[in-house]
Amino acid sequence: MHIDHVEQARNAGEQVHHFHGGLHLRHNKKISCATPLERTPLPGLLIVPLLQQYGPEAEATVKTGQKVLKGDEIGCFAHLGGGHIHAPSSGIVQAVARRPISHPSGADGWCVVIEPDGLDQWKRLEPLTNWTDADPALLRQKIRNSGIVGLGGAVFPTAFKTDEAIKQEIHTLILNGSECEPYISCDEMLMREEPDSVILGARILQQAIGATRTVIAIEDQMGVVNLALKQAVESAGDDNIKIVKITTIYPEGGEKQLIQVLTGLEVPTGGRPADLGMLCQNVATATAVAQAVVEGKPLIERIVTITGNGIRKPRNLVARIGTPISDLVEQCGGYTNDVARLVLGGPMMGYTLNSDANPVIKAANCILALTESDIRPSQVEMPCIRCGECARVCPAVLLPQQLDWLIRNQQWDDAADSGLADCIECGCCDVVCPSHIPLVEWFRFGKSELRTLAVERKQAETAKHRYEARDARLLRIKQERRQRLEEKKRAIKDDAQRQKKLTEAISRVRARQDRNE
């Protein structure tokens, strides 16, 4: 790594840079920030999916009829470094069955269905009370066993990130508090109401990964948050935490864009922020880490923003994983009459849910109910007029019109060369297209296909190797057989010769004997 890159990275947050493109979107966050955080009451049933977004399914570690306490492990990812699933409340496991899992495909998946007993009793908690003296490896292990995943929406197991990061030198921890998507305000409410736990989480993470400083990035119009965080930093007495305000422009909260804004450096394609010596975490993840280490509580709940023009009283709620979304909506006064669409996530990158019986999952940062007039109408799609607006707004500096054309014509190699894998699916290109082309849909399909093709290509290569190995083995067997045959023939010939000599010798001896008589 270049010496100057290291210097630039170490000075993260000193200057605020810009990234290419982006859009100024209407925020729509005030409506859900008007009321303070509330807790949702215990629901009748907790449906905890074993598949929390993408990736492999967890194995259930409980059986039907088993009693569980709050925080007991109920699902385990054998091959992933953490992100396990824990019971959100005490009760009995009613079933391990297929239920809606709030997945983009709308399909059902395996869930652990728990019937709460109303006692909400914690398991025996094992906090690390003297965490300041604890070995960083111990802290990381605590993170690994507490089911903590990235709560900004990516649900990447945090332990995986920290374990990988340790292999390289990390000097700066970046906490992402800049929620850039409109409507979502769960991180803002968290920072307003519980800034101390955010700072505590930052300090713990900093120690766990060996970083020397922390930069917390917030949007430049989060005035209240700024004050709250500054106070918390002062009371914690930590000099190494810096709060930086960055320009509000979507998608400044994307990991790569955030790093570019704070340092001016670009994360190399296919690389990770750890390559630049940085680790990025969401502020809610930091709070979860604080709870796990200091209180011993695994991740079983999160703040969810219920908002949109289709909700009567939008607000932020603290909800347990597994709570049906209908319960949350009810607590917010129910739907308005013209509600038309339910989205998990924000209006730019969220996916639709087919019903509100779907449960809250770790990735559910926002439930957005949109009305008829909000949602994208069935616009007539026109051919691309090559206006170039999409390229103007793309944060990854791609050429969406080019990629769209290549994907439609299945030119996968060219699409890969044109940077399809670098698309962050932010949706900026889609929103500015005058021809109303569903660009993000095409890119998501294209990326899927590229992944499938890569897998197929690898399989074909393996099959070819096995075929050639088999050919070689059969050839070898044939050669060996031929050799053995020749040896045998030689042996027989030798044998025959020896026999002949023996017979001749015997006949000579007999002849001599006869002569002597």
């Binding site: 691309c384 500096v397 929103v431």
Partner: protein, 343 residues
């Protein structure tokens, strides 16, 4: 009690712009220029526009039917109307009605639909139509009117209609009396006969900067162009580089030989330079897509225009400049691709 919802795809925000919207804004931006034109040169231009629009829509309907595409959607995008208007603005006001017919035939049928339709054509349809008509019918395309303020005989609307639809002039008139060379024409012929530019400029068709009347028209086209810039329909790269390169090279030529080269501003305010810079060369489909590419495109059009005006066979080279750079646009795009984030 759970409730079902319909599926949908992100983003859940409708885009603000639409193709129809863009086309309509372009037409609004052209209005001031068209009004000025009619003021100076009479209502003949409006008849040309009307004819061109009618023929364009007819051919568009025909081709959409042949290609089995939805009529309402593609006629409703107004792209044929914009092509027709831009084409008509390049014609002399008294051009016969069949000029618009031939022009629109080549513009809509050949240049647009035979190349694939909206968004797929390689050459600017309006310019293809104009080039075909210019090269095939040079005499009719050279019969321009003088501004009404200096005309020896102002034609009435009826007489104009008569000329356009019958091709012949009303009784008592002859082409010599009513037609007059354009400013660019005047410079060219006087240079050919050995006179200097300054002498040619004494002709009454010249105003303070460019041609009389033409300067106002150019200014109002520019006004429309600025409005398009403000509305973010076009970007500044092509107009600035196109006009800039003409001015820069014109300045050099003028300083080297003021006798046979007009002042750079003369170039800007004559012919179709401003119209081309803001409205025609900025056509997104046939131009470059990256901003760096657009700069090169603009410079290319400017150089070719100036070259044809100075040494070529036609008084105005904007159309040919644009068509030639259309050919080069894919190559320019290929070499001006921006560096992808992280690469």
């Amino acid at each position: 009690m759970s409730r079902k919802f319909d599926p949908g795809v992100a983003p859940h925000f409708p885009p603000k712009l639409s193709v129809t919207g863009v086309m309509q804004e372009v037409l609004y931006a052209l209005l001031p220029g068209i009004i000025a034109y009619t003021w100076f040169f009479g209502p003949g231009m409006l008849v040309q526009i009307l004819l061109a629009v009618i023929f364009a829509l007819l051919f568009e309907t025909l081709m959409l039917k042949v290609r089995k595409l939805p009529l309402k959607r593609f006629l409703g995008d107004w792209s044929a109307v914009v092509t027709a208007v831009l084409f008509a603005l390049c014609l002399p006001p008294l051009a016969p009605w069949w000029i618009a017919l031939v022009g629109m035939l080549f513009a809509i049928v050949v240049a647009k639909h035979l190349y694939g339709g909206l968004g797929q054509n390689m050459f600017n349809p309006a310019m293809v139509g104009y080039a075909v008509v210019l090269i095939s019918f040079p005499q009719v395309m050279a019969l321009w009117l003088p501004p009404r303020s200096i005309a020896s005989h102002s034609l009435t609307f009826g007489e104009m209609l008569n000329t356009i639809f019958t091709g012949s002039l009303s009784l008592g008139l002859s082409w010599d009396t009513i037609s007059e060379a354009t400013p660019l024409d005047a410079i060219r012929t006087s240079l050919a006969s050995g006179r200097m530019v300054s002498e040619a400029r004494q002709s009454p068709v010249f105003g303070d900067f460019g041609g009389l009347g033409w300067e106002w028209i150019a200014n109002l086209y520019a006004l429309g162009g600025f409005w398009l810039l403000w509305r973010r329909i076009i970007s500044w790269h092509v107009p600035v580089m196109m006009i800039g390169s003409v001015v820069a090279l014109g300045l050099v030529a003028y300083l080297v030989d003021p006798g046979s080269n007009p002042v750079p501003l003369q170039h800007v305010f004559s012919g179709a330079l401003v119209l081309g810079a803001f409205f025609i060369a900025t056509d997104p489909v046939t131009g470059c897509t990256s901003n760096r590419g657009r700069l090169i495109f603009g410079v290319g059009v400017g150089i070719i225009t100036l070259s044809i005006r100075s040494w070529g066979g036609y008084p105005d080279g904007v159309a040919f400049g644009i068509l030639l750079m259309n050919m080069a646009a894919p190559l320019i795009d290929r070499y001006t691709r921006p560096r992808i984030f992280g690469h």
